[in-house]
């Protein structure tokens, strides 16, 4: 087991370093030029200004030197300074990340809580009405464009019906809680500020439903397919032949086996939620990482883009590692092999 974990960990570390190289190469060999976007046409026509700018941000150094500086910076926890905000990128990210983590986590929980039971029931009662509901729901979930769904939800529940709060994490009149974790639900609960807690929760409802849509669809689909597969296995027939109750056959025998593909998908889906919240965040004016990434991208803010992609890649690798680990716990055959 220890050997398995350590080899996986080593692999993960290598992947992260390689990932930073990829993103560095992409962002440094393509024609996009921060000089133009930052200095404006007028200043950019002055060679002295341009040279000074390039020197200041290290853009005049050879490619490998710049990568080395970037990498050794990473090793010291120094992600560089954003060209746009002129602040250390890490500080920017620390400001924006909690909003995304909160939103993604709530959305992920939502899709698990709904998707898992729905998928299991759909498989057990195949071709029944619940199966049809599950399939229709997952189909709409994976087919509807997130940004459009966000618009429709806002238009209906905020604009027309006015039963949900508008964009943002809090009402403009609410006072944000003192920052502890940056997660509003936790910070307000810790400080006993229940009014703000409710406000934050209410603001989470629409964006998390929108963000959960695709993930919910995927989890329902995968769970259903994996359960159908497991239920057709010989050991399920053996379990029935023992005289076990139907509930135990399903929950005790089929489900543990069906969880394996669901865990893989779930891990990836969570990482994708963290990274892919940009459209939901845009529509709901959510001050999260997605917005920050987008702004960095359109202003060609290299240090910020590289830091974010490095962090996102690290999250992916970490999640993959955790998935491998839970695989080893769920399936005794993994470590042995």
């Amino acid at each position: 087991m220890i050997r398995y974990v350590s080899s996986r960990l080593a692999m993960a570390a290598v992947m992260v370093v390689l990932a930073t190289l990829v993103i560095f190469l992409i962002s440094n060999t393509v024609p996009g030029d921060p000089v133009l976007t930052q200095l404006g046409d007028l200043a950019a026509s002055n060679p002295a200004t341009v040279a000074e700018f390039r020197h200041k941000w290290g853009l005049d150094l050879p490619l490998w030197d710049r990568y080395w500086i970037f990498l050794s910076g990473l090793a010291h926890g120094d992600f560089g300074v954003s060209i746009v905000s002129r602040r250390p990128v890490l500080e920017d990210i620390a400001d924006y990340a909690p909003a995304t983590v909160e939103l993604a986590s709530v959305a992920f929980l939502l899709s698990l809580v709904v998707g898992l039971p729905l998928g299991v029931m759909a498989a057990v009662k195949r071709d029944s009405w619940i199966d049809h509901v599950a399939r229709a729901l997952s189909l709409v979930g994976v087919s509807a464009p997130t940004f459009w769904l966000a618009f429709v939800m806002l238009a209906v529940f905020y604009g027309a019906l006015d039963v949900a709060p508008g964009p943002g994490r809090l009402d403009p009149v609410s006072f944000p809680p003192a920052r502890i974790t940056g997660l509003l639900l936790i910070d307000t609960a810790l400080q006993g500020d229940w009014d703000t807690f409710h406000d934050a929760l209410a603001h989470l409802v629409l964006p998390s439903i929108v963000l959960a849509g695709a993930t919910l669809g995927l989890i329902t689909r995968t769970t259903r397919a994996a359960m159908l597969e497991a239920l057709s296995q010989d050991y399920v027939r053996v379990a029935k032949a023992k005289g076990l109750r139907a509930r135990i056959v399903v929950m005790g025998h089929a489900l543990p086996n069906a969880m394996l593909p669901v865990v893989t998908l779930g891990g990836l889906a969570y990482a994708n939620l963290l990274a892919g919240a940009v459209m939901t965040e845009t529509v709901f004016s959510w001050p999260g990482l997605g917005r920050y990434t987008f702004q960095s991208a359109v202003s060609v803010d290299f240090p910020a883009i590289m830091a974010i992609t490095a962090i996102v890649a690290a999250i992916f690798v970490l999640v993959n590692f955790l998935v491998d680990l839970s695989y080893a716990l769920l399936d005794p055959r993994v470590v042995k092999k």
Partner: protein, 678 residues
């Protein structure tokens, strides 16, 4: 749980009456079981035999009500201790399953839940019926495993299924089956997936358990030998109904239904000398279960059919304890033994002294994926120093249990694999490390027939394309027209109508596919053919047809065969010489007759003794040499003689020194320190 209404003590335990289980598919009902009736008494052992599709498994699942959609019991009763299982509600049948009737399935590798510990799977079988507390069930689980012959049961219950071999898992399944002391155990092909020595162990165990606990057993098998070995009464099923019933002594020596007769004569016998290598076969295929023919369902294939057979016969008695569904034998007459067509007694194949194939100390080691990034690679020594020769025109058999390296050896000889060491010479060409380009010209002379008729033909290619491919690649024919002509000739050669060239593999049965596979191998006109278990996936009658075809082709085309099999009777039947492999090494080499008359290696001896013979009288008198334990792993084989860990005559010397392959009298060769001791 409804109280058990016990019928009088002499009443049958199980009474199946006119059972019909149909698959209600969209395309109409498939009448898998169509009017089956039988009785089973307390403690009785009943065998059900039949080929695939005869309805024997569906029959067993119907009793347990373990039918999957769209199968349904559409008619009939299954009276079991006063209750009709066919009409019991879900809770009622649940109380019967595992408690009063237990079932063991065919494939032990998939029957246990891979993510749950053995203990949990055994314990829940007992606690589900409220007869044991969890603690009591745990203790009992260990006792049961010990009783089933699982070594170190205390540790075994803590293990997961993947840590066990197939044989061990089937013991676990038996422990599970007996855990609630059921009055009936249904075993559905329990040994089909196992090696012959393990099969013998499991069948012994089954007999003992039946005697010790008085549990009635229904044993389902396609193998008459297995049935004869265990059962006191036999049902033969064909096309969804019982066609013959009786004691194995009668039924297997004097069959009264032509189908039983055909089954019996189609299988080569381990205990019989044969002059002719051709077997008795019946024509055609079993009928379509969507529309059984009017009259006797066997009529179209029956060599004895008379006019009356147009009327569907009932299962009528033909003697004490015997019944058959046949008009021909109604008057009590036995079916005559098959007339052998041995007019042209196979010309004693004149083996040229020059070997066509020479294998010298060949090895193949596979590197296994390592445990982790830093762990060393482990080696699987699949073939570990094998030498053998195949003479022109002879048939050499390669036998051994799974994992002995016989399939790897086949792929080394045909250079699908490259040997790790040693030398392979084919007709004077050293092909040990020849590149694929160098070996291509030799491929015209050296071909292979594969085991799985469903995987060995490319499903996306028509039969014509499959056969024309080799012709074009090697430039054997010029032009498409010539290729089409040759394809027709090839199909004709293997006994298939020429119009089949346009059809795709999925339109054919297993036996027909194997014929196509043979035609493909013969397309390039080889003189040497490696056959890797070519008949092991087929039903008995189809096996016989393929054997006959291969024997015919050998005579007509002068082929040399390397024939790989695990079935000793088959090997004995068609081979001139036999090589016995164990764990990647040769144990014994001998002429077929000599090997069975006086096996010198203890492994050969136990292997022969483990193979069942479909005749209870012979079974009773045969000398049995039980094989101990399980085969060791080819990753870390035992020191010295590889067989010593399971050998009944091994001594300390055997662990210290590996016996060389020594030549004995009559050209027999054996690798044993004590040849012929057993």
């Amino acid at each position: 749980m409804p109280a058990t209404v016990d019928a009088p003590a002499d009443a049958p335990l199980l009474q199946v009456r006119d059972l019909r289980t149909w698959f209600l598919t969209d395309a109409g009902p498939v009448r898998a079981v169509d009017g089956v009736s039988f009785d089973l008494h307390r403690g009785e052992t009943l065998g059900i035999v039949g080929e695939s599709g005869s309805g024997k498994s569906v029959c067993a699942k119907s009793i347990m009500r373990l039918l999957d959609e769209p199968a349904r019991i559409v008619e009939g009763t299954i009276l079991f201790r006063g209750r009709d299982l066919a009409h019991l509600d879900e809770e009622g049948i649940r109380a019967v399953r595992g408690r009063e009737i237990a079932m063991v399935f065919q494939d032990p590798m998939t029957s246990l839940n891979p993510v749950l510990r053995i203990a949990r799977q055994l314990v829940e079988a007992m606690t589900a019926h409220g007869r044991f507390t969890v603690a009591a069930a745990r203790t009992r689980a260990i006792d049961l495993l010990r009783r089933m012959g699982v070594s170190a049961p205390e540790r075994a219950v803590q293990s997961y299924p993947h840590q066990f071999s197939g044989g061990m898992r089937q013991r676990v399944m038996l422990a599970m089956g007996f855990s609630n002391e059921p009055s009936l155990l249904i075993a559905d092909e329990p040994t089909t997936a196992l090696d012959v020595t393990i099969q013998a162990q499991i069948l012994d165990l089954l007999r003992e358990l039946n005697a010790d606990y008085g549990t009635a057993v229904i044993l389902i098998s396609h193998d008459l030998g297995v049935i004869a070995n265990v059962c006191a009464r036999v049902l033969v099923m064909y096309a969804g109904e019982v066609v013959e019933e009786g004691a194995p002594e009668d039924l297997l020596t004097d069959p009264r239904h032509p189908y039983t007769w055909a089954l019996l004569h189609a299988a080569p016998r381990l205990d019989a000398e044969t002059e002719d290598r051709r077997l008795v076969t019946i024509e055609g295929q079993p009928p379509d279960p969507r529309a059984w023919p009017e009259g006797c369902r066997f009529r179209a294939r029956c060599p004895f059919a008379v006019g009356k057979c147009a009327e569907h016969p009932a299962l009528l008695p033909v003697g004490p304890g015997r019944a058959t569904r046949c008009w021909v034998t109604q008057d009590g007459g036995p079916l005559h033994p098959p007339g052998r067509v041995s007019a042209q007694a196979a010309p004693a194949t004149t083996a040229h002294p020059a070997p066509l194939l020479q294998v010298e100390d060949v090895q193949k080691h596979f590197a296994l994926p390592s445990d982790g990034l830093f762990a060393p690679h482990r080696l699987l020594r699949a073939v570990d120093g094998v030498s053998l020769q195949v003479m022109r025109g002879e048939t050499v058999g390669l036998v051994g249990e799974s994992g002995c390296g016989k399939s790897t050896l086949a792929r080394l000889v045909t250079r699908l694999y490259e040997p790790t060491g040693g030398r392979i010479v084919f007709d004077g060409h050293d092909i040990t490390h020849a590149s694929q380009a160098d070996i291509r010209p030799l491929r015209r002379r050296m071909q292979m027939i594969f085991q799985d008729p469903y995987a060995s033909l490319n499903p996306r290619m028509s039969v014509g394309e499959i056969l024309a491919g080799p012709l074009k690649l090697h430039g054997i024919v010029a032009g498409d027209a010539a290729a089409r002509t040759r394809v027709r000739e090839l199909l004709d050669l293997v006994g298939l109508p020429a119009r089949n060239a346009e059809r795709f593999p999925h339109e054919f049965s297993g036996g027909q596919r194997q014929r196509i596979s043979i035609a493909r191998a013969l397309a390039v006109g080889p003189d040497f053919v490696v056959a890797d278990e070519p008949i092991s996936a087929l039903d008995v009658n189809i096996q016989a047809q393929i054997i006959n075809l291969m024997v015919d082709l050998q005579e007509r085309l002068g082929l040399t065969y390397l024939f790989i099999a695990h079935d000793l009777a088959v090997v004995r039947h068609i081979c001139d010489r036999i090589v016995v492999l164990y764990l990647g090494k040769v144990m014994e080499v001998a002429r077929a007759a000599d090997l069975f008359a006086r096996p010198l290696h203890p492994y050969t001896r136990t292997l022969i003794s483990a193979a069942p013979v479909p005749d209870p009288r012979v079974e009773r008198t045969r000398r049995r040499v039980p094989m101990k334990g399980e085969p060791p792993s080819a990753i870390s084989p035992p020191s010295g003689c590889r067989f010593r860990t399971r050998c009944p005559v091994a001594e300390a010397h055997c662990a210290a020194e590996e016996p060389p392959l020594m030549a004995m009298a009559g050209g027999q060769m054996v690798a044993c320190h004590f040849p012929g001791r057993i």
